[in-house]
């Protein structure tokens, strides 16, 4: 079945440590890929997106993501986590690329907790 999967429901990381959030997709063609962050009680903010080209994408707040076609993955990383990074992170896709409607399909989300 076509889907977006975030295998980790919760991740706890110490402040200053590195963070990696996993995202896998299951579609025939490579979709457009996005990472959004939702801080507690807030809306969603785009961190970064990938359409084509360089597979390492830089985003806001020091985040980056790497697209790996062979693994159907688009994992999000940050070298050093700050307490303010505690939030819910969503991977999302637009499939098929170029279709009218721009329908975002979301993964289940990963909640990141940051320990002092």
């Amino acid at each position: 079945a076509q889907s977006v999967t975030q295998p980790d429901i919760h991740i706890t990381v110490s402040e200053g440590a590195s963070l990696e959030l996993r995202c896998n997709y299951s579609y025939g063609a490579t979709p457009y890929l996005f990472w959004y962050v939702q801080s507690p009680g807030q809306g969603l903010q785009l961190l970064l997106k990938y359409f084509s080209g360089d597979t390492l994408v830089q985003g806001i707040k020091g985040f980056e993501a790497e697209f790996k076609r062979s693994q159907s993955s688009f994992n999000l990383r940050k070298p050093s986590v700050h307490w303010s990074d505690a939030a819910e992170y969503f991977c999302a896709v637009v499939v098929p690329p170029g279709a009218a409607g721009n329908k975002l399909t979301f993964g289940g989300g990963t909640r990141v907790l940051v320990k002092p």
Binding site: F90, V94, K103, L104
Partner: protein, 116 residues
């Protein structure tokens, strides 16, 4: 200078009531969306309008009726509210004239609906 705004922020109501949620964007975008986030944080698109025309209509009960009086507004009216309608409803907008799916969607802060 809020980009995408929603009213109300919180909505507590009784089963069987009819309620509306309003959304406005001042970004000059031509496409607007409604998403529902359930208690498990799962996000799913409900509707999308492009230039006041409905272009995405997911499997949503007929009790939900979107209305777009102009490009800057997309309201959501819900009839005969049920317990299962309790969720956070997010409005979003994007500039997606070509429908190519690359445009960033900007989200509002959400409306937290609780049906008692």
């Amino acid at each position: 200078d809020t980009a995408v705004s929603q009213t109300p922020k919180y909505l507590v109501t009784q089963m069987g009531n009819d309620k509306s949620i309003k959304c406005e964007q001042n970004l000059g975008h031509d496409t607007m969306y409604w998403y529902k986030q359930d208690s498990k944080k799962f996000l799913k698109i409900m509707f999308s309008y492009n230039n006041k025309e409905l272009i995405i209509n997911e499997t949503v009960p007929n009790r939900f009726s979107p209305k777009s009086p102009d490009k800057a507004h997309l309201n959501l009216h819900i009839n005969s509210l049920e317990l299962g309608d309790s969720a956070v409803y997010f409005c979003a907008s994007s500039q997606d004239v070509t429908g190519e799916g690359r445009r960033t969607q900007y989200f509002g802060p959400g409306t937290r609906l609780l049906v008692l």
